[in-house]
C-alpha cells in the first residue's frame, strides 16, 4: 500500500532562520510514526506546514496521493488531517462537550447528531465527568485530552499530535497510549506524533524520524534510532535509557 502522507523536500525559513531544510519522509497507511528531536529542531514547523498554517518555501506534501500543499488549515482538516496544538487552544468559554461538538460539526450539519458523536469521543478520552464544565476550568492534562478529542471529532484519517504527552503523569501517559493504540487498531487511524516523552514514542511508534536544526538526521524503528550515534549526541544523550 502507498503512503498516506508523503512529505518531499519540504523547506521553510523564517526571516533567514532555516527552520526546516529539505525534509522528506512518509507515513504509511495505518502506521504510527513519531517525529522527535531537540527543541527548535523544526518539528512544529513541519506540522504547521503540513497543516497549512504557513506555506512551504519549497517541497511538497501529499495526502492519500493528492497534493495538499497550498491548502488553508480548514481545507487540510476537511481533507482528513486532524491536529492538536502543542500550546493548547481550548475554546475556553465553551463547555468540554461543546468544544468537541465544534469539531464534530465538520462532518454533519445536524447539531444533535454532532452532540451524540462528541459525547462518545468525550467518554473515550475519559472526559465524561467533566463534559458540562467550561473548558477554562480544566487542568493541563485534561486540556491536552480535549485537544485530542476535538481533533478526533473531525473524523480524520491522519492525526497529527503535537506533544500531547508533555506535562502529564506516567499513569495518564499510559492511559493516552492505550487510547491511541485502540484508535489505531480498531479505526485504522494513522498517527504522526511529535513527542519528547520517549516512553510514549517507544510504546507507540513503528517508525521514528529524527530532526535536528531543521534536517532529518536519522530514521528507522525506535530501537534503531535510540542506538544511532548522531541521535544520541544531539538529543538523547549518552546515558539514554528507554
Amino acid at each position: 500500500m502507498s503512503a498516506l502522507l508523503e512529505v518531499r523536500g519540504l523547506s521553510k525559513s523564517f526571516r533567514g532562520l532555516r527552520a526546516l531544510i529539505d525534509a522528506s519522509f512518509e507515513v504509511p497507511r495505518g502506521a504510527i510514526a513519531a517525529l522527535i528531536g531537540p527543541n527548535g529542531a523544526g518539528k512544529t514547523t513541519c506540522f504547521n506546514t503540513i497543516a497549512g498554517v504557513h506555506p512551504a518555501d519549497s517541497g511538497s506534501v501529499s495526502f492519500d496521493g493528492r497534493p495538499i500543499d497550498g491548502l488553508l488549515p480548514h481545507q487540510v482538516c476537511a481533507a482528513g488531517i486532524g491536529r492538536t496544538f502543542q500550546i493548547v487552544k481550548p475554546f475556553a468559554g465553551l463547555t468540554v462537550l461543546d468544544n468537541v461538538v465544534v469539531g464534530a460539526l465538520l462532518r454533519t450539519r445536524n447539531v444533535s447528531a454532532a452532540k451524540r458523536h462528541a459525547g462518545e469521543i468525550v467518554e473515550k478520552l475519559g472526559l465524561g465527568s467533566r463534559r458540562n464544565l467550561p473548558a477554562a476550568s480544566l487542568t493541563l492534562p485534561d486540556r491536552k485530552r480535549l485537544e485530542v478529542a476535538r481533533a478526533l471529532a473531525t473524523q480524520p484519517r491522519l492525526l497529527l499530535l503535537d506533544e500531547v504527552m508533555a506535562g502529564i503523569t506516567p499513569t495518564e501517559c499510559d492511559l493516552m497510549i492505550g487510547v491511541f493504540r485502540e484508535l489505531n487498531r480498531s479505526d485504522g487511524l494513522t498517527i504522526l506524533l511529535i513527542e519528547h516523552v520517549m516512553r510514549a514514542v517507544m510504546a507507540l511508534a513503528q517508525q521514528v524520524v529524527v530532526l535536528n536544526h531543521g534536517e532529518i538526521i536519522a530514521r528507522g524503528t525506535p530501537a534503531e534510532v535510540v542506538r544511532n550515534r548522531a541521535v544520541l549526541e544531539c538529543y538523547l544523550g549518552e546515558e539514554a535509557e528507554v
Binding site: P73, H74, F91, G93, L94
Partner: protein, 323 residues
Amino acid sequence: MNRRAAILLAALGVALAALPGFANAYVLSVATLILFLAYTGQAWNVMMGFAGQLSLGHSLYVGVGAYAAAGLFFHFGIGPWAGVWLAIALCAAFGAAIGFLAFRFGISGVYFALLTIAFAEFTRIGFDHLDWTGGPGGLFIKVAQRDQIDLANFRGPPAMYYYAMLALAAGAFALCAVLLRSRAGYYWQAIRENEEAAQALGINTFRWKMAAVLLSSAMTAVSGVFFAFYYNNLFPEQIFNISRSIEIILGPIIGGVGTLFGPILGAAVLTILADLITELLAALGWEIPGIKQVFYGIVLLVVIMFLPHGIWPALARKLGVGK
C-alpha cells in the same frame, strides 16, 4: 431552555404586549427607545458577542439604513416596506466591504474596531456633502398623523411604533436563540474563543466572520429604517455620530456580551436609570448638560469592575434560568 425560563419569558412577553394599554405617552416612548436599543444591541451582539468581532461603528448601519429608506420616501414617495430592502442591501454592502478588507488582510481586534469607526466617520462626512439627502441641514419626513394608522407608509400613533419595535426585538431574540444553537452559533463562538483552533477544526473562518458581519449589518439596517420613520428627521452629525455607536453597544456590554437576554436587559437598565436620573435632576432644578453620558460611564465602570460578564449571567443564576 428550562421551564422556569419559558414561564418568565412568556410573562415578559405578555407584559410588553399589554403595556400600551395602560402606559402614558412618556412611558411608551421610553419603552420604544428601550426596544430600539435592545434590537440594535442584539444585532451588534451577533458580531461581537457571537463571533468576537468588535464593531465600534454600528451607527454606520443605522445611518445608512435610515437615509436609504427616508430618501426613497422623501423623493419618490416609496414607503418603508420597499425602502427597507434597499436599506438592507446597502448596509450589507458596507458590511461586506469592511469585512472583506479586514478579514482578507488579517486586520483583527482593536484594528478591526478602528476600521469600523473609520467607515462610520467617513460616511458621516460623505452624507454631510450629499445634497440628495439634505446634507448637514438634515432630511425631514412629514410628521405622522397620530390619530390614524397608515401601515403602508408606516405612519401612525406611538403605539404602532412600539408594537413594530416589539415585533422586531422579539424576532431578533428568537432568531439569535435559534442561531446560537445551530452550527452557525457553534462556529461563531469557536472563532470568538480561538480563531486558529477553529481553522484547525475545518472552519472557514473568513466565510463565517463575513456571515456574522452581513447578518449584523442587515439587522441594523432595519433599526435605521425604524429610526427614520419614528423620529422623522435625520442629521448626519447625529445619526452617524460615534456616541450613537457607543450607545448601541453599552446595552449588550452591561447586560452581558454574547448572551441572548443581555442586550434587552442592558438596554432597559441603562435607559430607565438614565431617564430617572435626568428627571430627578430636573425636578431638583439642576440642568446638567451631558449628565447622561457621565452616568453611562459610571454604570459601565461599575459593571466592568463587579460583573465583567454583564448583569444577565449573574441574574440568570439567581433566577435559576439558563443563558
